[in-house]
């Protein structure tokens, strides 16, 4: 009630300002009249009554203040004035608005990525207590890997730090067939029944898995992702309870997950219950499970890590051969998911803020110039008693319309940019689906705008208030040089711009050089003219290894027969396409101690068809390649790469030597050949050596078909798909693209980083050149008379030019010094993103400095020439 009345009062005071004043006026007048009448009746003068009442105007003003809304009225007036100023100086308004819009757009767009990917909480209950558990075995050359089911059981039974431990296993090849579309390969997860309760999420429709469904024979149920449900089943809620065909086996849909559920990542589209061969608990060999856990309330990460280290050590003691060297890593789920992109994203955020700073310096410069032009007005206001606070408030309020318009354009541009860039984002950018203008992102944009307004608005007003009336009026009589102090302020702005720009330019140059270096790296195969397509072979249809191999052979026969095909082959994992399969190997007669103590050599395990090496043009260095004679009943053969040959045999001939999996009870394979080494994981990381087997002796159902063509490989896409479907019309094909594209995609994150940083740097250089030009041109304008006098006294024009350029060069030198120091200081962070380029790469530092110097020189050159062109007689008459 009281609140309502007060709101009504305030609104009335604000909106019906005049009416409220008029009422008060009437009230006071009536009072005064009565007082006068009383005085006159007592025989006194009316003036005495007036004195007793007090000064009317001042009391009116005090009453207005008492209503507590005058500042709003004043601010509104200032804003209106700001709008009028914008209309009166459209050039200034456009430049300033564009600067703000650009700055806000870039900062907001990048922050939307930083927030969506790095900061936004995971869509689970109390996500801060969720962790991933990894195994790691540095002595085996494994930085980090999944865990074995036996480990999950041990962790669960022995720990006192987790509420629960769950596991999920990626299933690469669910083949969804049936109504609603083509056969489709889905990435799915076998997910333990306790995972959803552990994450504290419930399905959108239906239910999660039960413990009973984890037993073999009851596991034919499925949970759909929201995307799959909408896309394939039209969002029909009656899907729950119906059967769908997964790899030829009917599964009952028990539920649909919500749109935010992307576990372990957004690539997963379907989940089935986690079942596994009980033998895994005994042999402890299958490291294929992602373990997730929820920390008990109040348990710190450190304590959990300490306890898990103890448990891992116990496991090593209990299974000294199998588990040797295998430790455990506990990582918070969110930071684990985004670890690889954290530094690059923060660097981009820093870069865009630097660009914003450079833009703001230009804006401050413009406002300073305007403040000088309005010196007389400000001086008069100060003389009439406007305090410093009032002047600053006015200056900021005048900026509000500009900020509002610029900011709105900026946010709209950011929204557009997010939509436009989304399809270009690297496929391996985690959590990219979270990138949007979320509320905190908008708050950040608003905060940035406020900061700009406070920074660039307060400055000129404070300068004006400080320089005072005397200085102002004195200056005005001579046409206003703005004074020494203001010149120094401008110098500070230019120096800041140059420093920030150089810092950005050096970073961009380093990244560009690094990317160029990376493109020079030979991956070990020739990606040109090769098309690739993933083929997940359903074991439900092709049950035995022999069936799978025969099916592969049939596909290859058809593909080989296509016109334009030079060679074709298959492999279980394509280089640079993500995904690895590794195995520890030991060699007969080679002391394992020279490899990794007790565990052998960790290598990429690659079953291939005979045509694979030829298709990718991986060179045969010694011995022979596989042939169709390496069948499952022939002696087991292996081909090692040159790196393994060098590391293990050190110059001795490896052909005829034998190797086997470094796991108990494994057969020997004879080395029949040596091929070139391939960079499998990443171009910038040499990774592991490779060992190859014949597809008939080591048969896998997840295959990649590679086809070398005479001409444009993508022209083969249709005929290759048709060839595969002619063998089995239900065979899904996925991730089909040229090998060049595969290589490009593996560089997509770096490419995007480099492109963005390069764009920011280019923008920064442009903004800074405008800034330098503005300041030098302004100072030349101020010194026109001086130059006129100098010329009149016989100075040569070259001297004038030199004088102007000297000033520009001095500013550049100071700014460049600071910029170089900043670049050197941040080198350590940047070095994590560089490949084959030192963070202190002299060439990059020099090149960026030279470019910026040239730009600054050009920016000074124009005003310098104008200064030299001053006509003394005109200059002296400008008064």
């Amino acid at each position: 009630m009281r609140l309502l009345r007060m709101i009504r009062l305030r609104l009335r005071a604000l909106l019906r300002f005049g009416a409220v004043d008029a009422e008060l006026d009437e009230e006071m007048r009536a009072h005064l009249e009565r007082l006068v009448a009383e005085h006159v009746a007592r025989g006194m003068a009316p003036t005495a009554a007036r004195r007793e009442f007090g000064p009317m105007t001042q009391l009116m003003e005090e009453s207005r203040e008492a209503r507590g809304v005058t500042w709003i009225v004043a601010a509104a007036q200032d804003m209106q004035y700001g709008l009028r100023l914008m209309r009166r100086t459209p050039g200034f308004a456009a430049a300033a608005t564009l600067t703000v819009a650009l700055g806000i757009a870039a900062t907001t767009a990048i922050f939307s990525v930083v927030y969506g990917v790095l900061l936004r909480p995971l869509p689970y209950g109390e996500p801060d207590r969720l962790v991933n558990i990894w195994s790691h075995a540095p002595s085996r050359g494994l930085a980090r890997g999944y865990v074995a089911m036996a480990n999950v059981y041990d962790y669960k039974a022995r720990n006192h730090v987790f509420e629960d431990v769950g596991a999920v296993r990626a299933i690469a090849n669910f083949n969804l067939t049936g109504p609603g579309g083509d056969p489709e390969r889905l990435l799915g997860g076998r997910m333990a029944a306790n995972v959803l309760p552990l994450l504290r999420v419930a399905p959108l429709l239906g239910r999660g898995f039960t413990a009973e469904e984890e037993t073999i024979g009851h596991e034919r149920v499925a949970l759909l992702s929201y995307g799959l449900w909408r896309r394939r089943f039209g969002g029909d809620p009656s899907i729950v309870g119906r059967d769908i065909s997964l790899s030829g086996v009917p599964h009952t849909v028990v539920g649909v997950m919500g749109p935010a559920f992307a576990f372990p990542s957004r690539d997963y589209q379907i989940w089935t219950p986690l079942t596994f061969d009980p033998e895994e608990l005994v042999n402890r060999l299958n490291y294929s499970y992602l373990a997730v856990a929820r920390l008990e309330r109040g348990v710190t990460l450190e304590r959990a890590r300490a306890e898990m280290d103890v448990i891992a050590a116990q496991i090593v003691r209990e299974h000294p051969v199998i588990a040797a060297g295998i430790g455990v890593e506990v990582v918070p789920m969110l930071s684990d998911t985004v670890a690889a992109v954290r530094t690059p994203l923060y660097i981009l955020q820093a870069a865009v803020l630097a660009m914003l700073l450079i833009g703001c310096a230009n804006l401050a410069n413009l406002l300073l110039t305007r403040a000088v032009a309005r010196q007389r007005e400000l001086a008069v206001r100060a003389a009439l008693g406007a305090g410093r606070a009032r002047l600053v408030a006015q200056s900021i309020a005048e900026l509000v319309p500009l900020m509002g318009i610029g900011g709105a354009i900026g946010v709209a541009a950011a929204a557009w940019a997010i939509g436009a860039v989304a399809p270009l984002l690297p496929a391996d950018l985690p959590r990219a689906e979270n990138i949007a203008l979320h509320l905190p992102v908008l708050a950040f944009a608003a905060a940035t705008m406020t900061a700009i307004a406070l920074l660039v608005g307060a400055w000129p007003a404070l300068e004006a208030a400080r320089s005072g009336i005397a200085a102002a009026t004195a200056d005005l009589s001579r046409g206003g040089t703005g004074g020494v102090r203001r010149a120094r302020t401008r110098d500070v702005l230019v120096v800041t711009q140059i420093a920030a720009t150089l810092w950005l330019a050096i970073g961009a140059t380093l990244l560009t050089r690094s990317l160029a270096e990376l493109k020079r790296v030979h991956p070990g195969f020739n990606p040109e003219h090769v098309y690739s397509a993933h083929v997940a072979i359903p074991r439900t249809k092709y049950r035995t290894d022999r069936d799978v191999a025969a099916y592969m052979r049939r596909i290859l026969d058809r593909v080989d027969a296509l016109p334009g095909v030079v060679a074709a082959g298959m492999v279980n994992r394509l280089p640079l396409a993500g995904g690895a399969q590794t195995i520890p190997i030991e060699f007969e007669g080679v002391d394992p101690a020279i490899l990794a103590p007790g565990v052998g050599l960790q290598v990429d395990m690659r079953p291939v068809t005979p045509g694979y090496f030829g298709t990718l043009q991986i060179p045969l260095i010694a011995g022979r390649a596989f042939t169709e004679n390496d069948t499952d009943d022939a002696p087991s053969a292996a081909i090692i790469d040159e790196r393994a040959a060098r590391a293990v045999f050190r110059g001795a001939d490896p052909i005829g030597r034998r190797l086997r999996f470094a796991i108990p009870n494994q057969p020997w394979h004879t080395i029949v050949g040596v091929v070139g080494h391939v960079r499998h994981d990443r171009l910038d990381d040499d990774g592991r050596p490779q060992v190859y087997w014949s597809y008939e002796q080591n048969t896998q159902d997840r295959q990649v078909l590679v086809v070398r063509s005479a001409g444009d490989p993508s022209a083969l896409a249709q005929s290759i798909a048709a060839a595969i479907r002619s063998v089995d019309p239900e065979q899904p094909i996925y991730d089909a693209r040229t090998l060049d594209e595969v290589v490009e995609r593996s560089l997509a994150q770096r490419w995007l980083q480099t492109a963005l940083l390069g764009a920011f740097a280019a923008m920064a250089i442009l903004l800074a050149s405008i800034g330098v030009y503005g300041v030098i041109a302004y100072s030349v304008g101020q010194r026109t008379r001086e130059f006129g006098i100098r010329l009149a006294l016989g100075a040569r024009r070259g001297e004038i030019v030199r004088a102007v350029m000297r000033r520009g060069a001095a500013l550049f030198a100071v700014g460049a010094g600071i910029g170089l120091a900043a670049a050197a200081a941040s080198a350590r962070v940047l070095s994590t993103l560089l490949f084959n380029v030192g963070a202190f790469d002299l060439a990059s530092f020099a090149a960026a400095t030279m470019v910026l110097f040239a730009v600054a020189l050009a920016a000074c050159g124009l005003p310098a020439r104008r200064a030299a062109g001053v006509d003394p007689s005109v200059a002296l008459r400008t008064e």
């Binding site: 007060m6 305030r10 009437e26 006071m28 009536a30 009565r34 009442f53 209503r67 507590g68």
Partner: protein
């Protein structure tokens, strides 16, 4: 005895006190304050009005137009419930202050 200048903020208390009995308009409030203080406190009459605006905007008094005893349009101010609470609070703290001051005055 010469009239005493008002201590800052006391005017608010006096107005609230004056309105405690019944709603009244500005002129009457001035008269009541003078009467309450036996002419010791002299209020510059015009300064009532900023104070009234302030109190109204704080929600302690509410205003309504009515007719004065001279049959002229006048704004009548009345104490709100919040105003009554405020009056009690201010009166109490005033008493404490007054007691403290008189204590100081006596001991020196």
């Amino acid at each position: 005895m010469k009239p005493v200048d008002l201590v800052q903020g006391t005017l608010d208390l006096l107005i609230l006190k004056a309105l405690a009995l019944e709603p009244m308009h500005g002129w009457a409030i001035a008269a009541r304050i003078r009467q309450l203080s036996n002419d010791v406190l002299l209020v510059q009459q015009g300064s009532l009005y900023p104070a009234l605006q302030r109190l109204e905007h704080q929600g302690w008094i509410a205003a309504r137009w009515g007719l004065s005893e001279q049959k002229r349009r006048a704004k009548f101010y009345a104490l709100t419930r919040a105003g009554r609470r405020q009056l009690e609070k201010e009166a109490k703290s005033w008493e404490r202050l007054a007691a403290a001051v008189s204590l100081v005055v006596r001991t020196t």
